[in-house]
């Protein structure tokens, strides 16, 4: 049997209602990445992670488990799983088998984003444990009642904390705050900018001569919902990299399969495999801009490609350039 849709969506909705996130994370997992960075708590402008990079290791572990269950007789017990999940968070156990190496790498992406924004002279705070998941999996799966309740709770909380501007770091959270919240939250007036837009607005000058090349994989959400396609290219070129385009790129980018990873793991794998072939035709060093593209393409590519998040790539170029100065 395929993975049953209703109980999985039920678990997502229950988790958000009871625990504030589809994939509840401990305080340490959600905020540990910021340790030692001396980020001011709160403020009018805050960096908003939406827990997305922090979820990467747990999502990777969970999707591997679900892929094993797909088409097995165990899928019959998913309804029971939902009942159990109401008492103890099943996804919490998934996070226990998550890879510590992946956790270090995804935390480093967030630290690199902080470094890039600071280098660009941007001032911002961070909400630490006062930051919540924004709700993309609820919204995308049509769980509008649950999403609306959650969005109003998050928006009221941000208002109470005096937040006026969010700097988001991933496509899905960006899309939620810019496109979904204004429909569900009356008078939602918090300004939302993505960090790639913030950095590109500074019109960075080239810091180094071209010393490498990368193949760019655009996120569908950035390119086709949020109009973020030119900014990452501009930033990569300024960092001293030649940008190579796969056959389907920017507004015509091909999905990584990530959005259906939890409900249709085999289909997701087929789609990410197709994308890996397209990327590989252009080169081995690939840059992604979304935590889920990073996980999915990484799983499908195995050792065929070296896949890095754009923030880590940009930060590495800056480090190299300043070491050579």
């Amino acid at each position: 049997m395929p993975i049953p849709i209703a109980p999985i969506l039920g678990i997502f909705a229950d988790n958000v209602r009871q625990r504030g996130s589809v994939l509840p994370l401990s305080k340490r997992t959600a905020t540990g990445w910021a340790r030692g960075l001396d980020l001011p708590r709160g403020g009018e402008t805050v960096l908003y992670t939406g827990h997305m990079y922090q979820m990467v290791p747990a999502i990777e572990a969970m999707s591997s488990q679900l892929a094993l269950l797909e088409n097995s007789f165990l899928t019959r017990f998913f309804g029971l799983g939902r009942l159990v999940n109401k008492l103890v968070s099943l996804s919490f156990f998934m996070s226990l088998v998550a890879s510590p190496k992946k956790a270090r790498r995804s935390n480093q992406v967030l630290r690199d984003i902080v470094g890039l924004l600071r280098d660009a002279g941007i001032e911002f705070g961070y909400l630490y444990e006062d930051e919540f998941y924004a709700g993309p999996l609820l919204y995308d799966n049509g769980l509008d009642e649950a999403f609306g309740r959650h969005a109003r709770r998050v928006a009221a909380h941000l208002k109470k904390l005096g937040v006026r501007r969010l700097i988001t770091v991933d496509p899905h959270t960006t899309k939620m705050f810019r496109r979904a919240y204004p429909h569900f939250v009356k008078d939602f007036d918090i300004e939302v900018q993505n960090y790639l837009e913030v950095l590109a607005e500074k019109h960075p000058k080239a810091v180094a001569p071209v010393n490498g090349e990368v193949v760019v994989h655009d996120s569908c959400v950035y390119a086709r919902y949020e109009n973020i396609a030119e900014q990452p290219r501009e930033l990569l070129r300024a960092a001293g990299l030649a940008v190579r385009e796969p056959k389907l790129a920017a507004k015509s980018t091909h999905c990584c399969g990530g959005p259906i990873e939890s409900l249709f793991p085999s289909e997701a794998h087929r789609i990410s495999g197709n994308r890996v072939d397209q990327l590989e035709a252009e080169g081995k060093n690939v840059v992604t801009m979304c935590p889920f593209c990073w996980v999915n393409l990484g799983k499908a590519a195995g050792n065929r490609l070296v896949i890095n998040d754009i923030a880590s790539t940009l930060a590495a170029c800056r480090r190299k350039a300043s070491a050579g100065r």
Partner: protein, 101 residues
């Protein structure tokens, strides 16, 4: 158990997210969709607009496997909001069939 909602067409008319009336069945969306489902999204939207609840429900796996990637939509000559239409169908199904609110 799948329940039939006889007023599907009427309900979709009320959903501001659903626009499929201008589709002229050119097939561009099907040709570009990474999933390659033949019924998506044209046949599905027609069934939905005609209120064929059982036919729509038979496509629940396809409705929930849409990536919402907008590859189809970006190239639709008629400006059909295909991804939002899929999301709207999900809203109806999660509410009425899955009882998730």
């Amino acid at each position: 158990m799948i329940r039939v909602s006889s007023d599907l067409a009427a309900r979709l008319k009320k959903e501001e997210g659903f626009n499929a009336g201008s589709c002229f069945h050119c097939g561009t969306c099907t040709a570009l969709c990474p999933l390659g489902y033949k019924i998506l999204p044209r046949k599905l939207f027609r069934e939905a607009m005609l209120g064929l609840g059982d036919e729509v429900r038979a496509s629940i796996p396809q409705i929930f496997s849409c990536l919402l990637c907008r590859m189809c939509e970006a190239n639709c000559p008629q400006g059909v909001r295909i991804a939002e239409n899929m999301r709207t169908l999900r809203c109806l199904i999660t509410r009425e069939d899955f009882d998730l609110t």
